[in-house]
């Protein structure tokens, strides 16, 4: 080429819009004569644009409280808060556990609608929770979209509970076929990687409410309850019954406010 040589560095900088004006013109002219490089550099530029449009929405998300707290002096207060949560969790667990003993049927699981739901929830948990690459259809990074979509399909406004207080954050969710219609399935994960899933039905049709019940299907434990038309089942295979009860309590408090 008789042109002044254009380096790879120039091309990268061109894709990033980091070249001074006069150099930019020279590189643009060079690219006209080198369509293959022009196509490559254009794809880099598009990729950068796509990256920005994918991740820029994070800038507008409200900053979680815990991140704002990280910059405040007085970590002692945070420790105290965690301790308070743990105490509350244990207390709730104890209360619910006591109730549970009182009402747990000694007979094997009945085959009413709620128990069938628990069984299906356990199967869904066993199916999806080991997934590494595709645990959910829509991730928590698009939580608003996820909730709108599943609410629309289930015909009722869903509010996936926030379980950060008991150490679990939303991974995302998916739509599942239930007995009579669509079911929403939310997955949560704690920072050690253990997962719990919440199975939500909106077609119980019984219009009655039940308290907590516990069922076990293979290695999966399920706490489930019915509130009018809504049925909920929280499953996990990785944590103890008491720990699961603690999470179920947190979910229950939010889904069925007093």
């Amino acid at each position: 080429m008789s042109e002044p040589s254009v380096t790879e560095l120039d091309l990268q900088a061109y894709a990033d819009g980091k070249l001074p004006e006069e150099r930019r013109a020279a590189v643009a002219a060079w690219l006209c004569a080198h369509p293959e490089d022009a196509e490559r550099i254009e794809s880099y530029r598009r990729l950068a644009e796509e990256l920005r449009s994918t991740y820029d929405p994070v800038l507008k998300e409200p900053v979680p409280e815990r991140l704002q707290r990280a910059l405040r002096p007085g970590r002692a207060r945070r420790v105290a808060m965690v301790a308070a949560w743990v105490t509350l969790g244990i207390a709730l667990g104890a209360i619910a556990g006591w109730h549970l003993r009182a009402m747990q049927p000694s007979a094997p699981i009945a085959t009413d609608g709620a128990s069938l739901m628990a069984r299906r929830a356990a199967v869904a948990h066993a199916t999806y929770s080991p997934e590494v690459r595709h645990p959910v259809e829509v991730g928590a990074d698009q939580e608003a979209h996820l909730v709108t979509w599943l609410s629309k399909r289930l015909g009722t406004q869903l509010r996936p509970p926030k379980l950060e207080g008991v150490g679990y954050s939303l991974v995302g969710g998916r739509l599942l076929p239930g007995e009579n219609g669509p079911v929403a399935h939310f997955m949560y994960q704690c920072n050690r990687g253990t997962r719990v899933t919440l199975y939500v039905r909106s077609d119980m049709g019984s219009n009655r409410s039940t308290a907590f019940r516990y069922a076990r299907e293979g290695s999966v434990g399920v706490f489930y309850w019915v509130d009018g038309k809504s049925g909920y089942a929280l499953s996990s295979a990785d944590i103890s019954k008491d720990d699961l009860l603690n999470v179920a309590n947190a979910a229950y408090q939010q889904l069925n406010p007093p």
Partner: protein, 166 residues
């Protein structure tokens, strides 16, 4: 404006970078939280008048490297990841997740350079200072990351016909 307030103002940018770096939302926020706590504890080491953003991203980079080291078994530092199954395009949300996955499959050090250049729009010089590497390394990682990403998005293995810049 004092440093604490400026750190608060930078949180959304840390979150954006962390989200792209590690993918999952809660893991990303864990990384941001660790970074902020460390930055807060080390704030006396920050030299006033220098670039606070670059300093903060350096802190995040170090925290991230340490975290990755701690659970290396689950990280994708490896160049050679198994190929993902090809799927037909099914709308925007899935395309976004494909981009997520493609980025996740870049070697960590290339990913960091690409994200600082494209998301933070840092100059190559700033990236070099933030990551503590020579500018030549910044450029070679940047061009390798792009070529790999382009190949992945086209569904082809990266071709090895790169002109490496010294």
């Amino acid at each position: 404006m004092n440093e604490a307030q400026r750190l608060v103002d930078l949180i959304p940018r840390l979150r954006r970078y962390a989200r792209a770096l590690v993918g999952d939302r809660s893991t990303a926020d864990d990384l941001v939280q660790d970074t902020l706590e460390r930055a807060w504890a080390k704030l006396h080491l920050y030299r006033r008048g220098t670039d606070l953003r670059a300093w903060l991203f350096t802190v995040m980079h170090n925290v991230h490297v340490n975290r990755v080291r701690a659970w290396r078994s689950t990280d994708t530092l490896d160049d050679e990841m198994p190929e993902l199954a090809q799927r037909p395009p099914q709308g925007d949300a899935l395309l976004v997740r494909d981009l997520d996955r493609a980025i996740a499959r870049l070697p960590a050090e290339q990913r960091a350079v690409l994200l600082l250049v494209t998301l933070e729009e840092m100059s190559y010089d700033e990236v070099a200072r933030t990551l503590g590497i020579p500018i030549g390394t910044v450029m070679s990682r940047l061009s390798r990351a792009r070529e790999k990403l382009r190949a992945m998005m086209l569904g082809q293995p990266a071709v090895a016909k790169l002109k490496v810049v010294k």
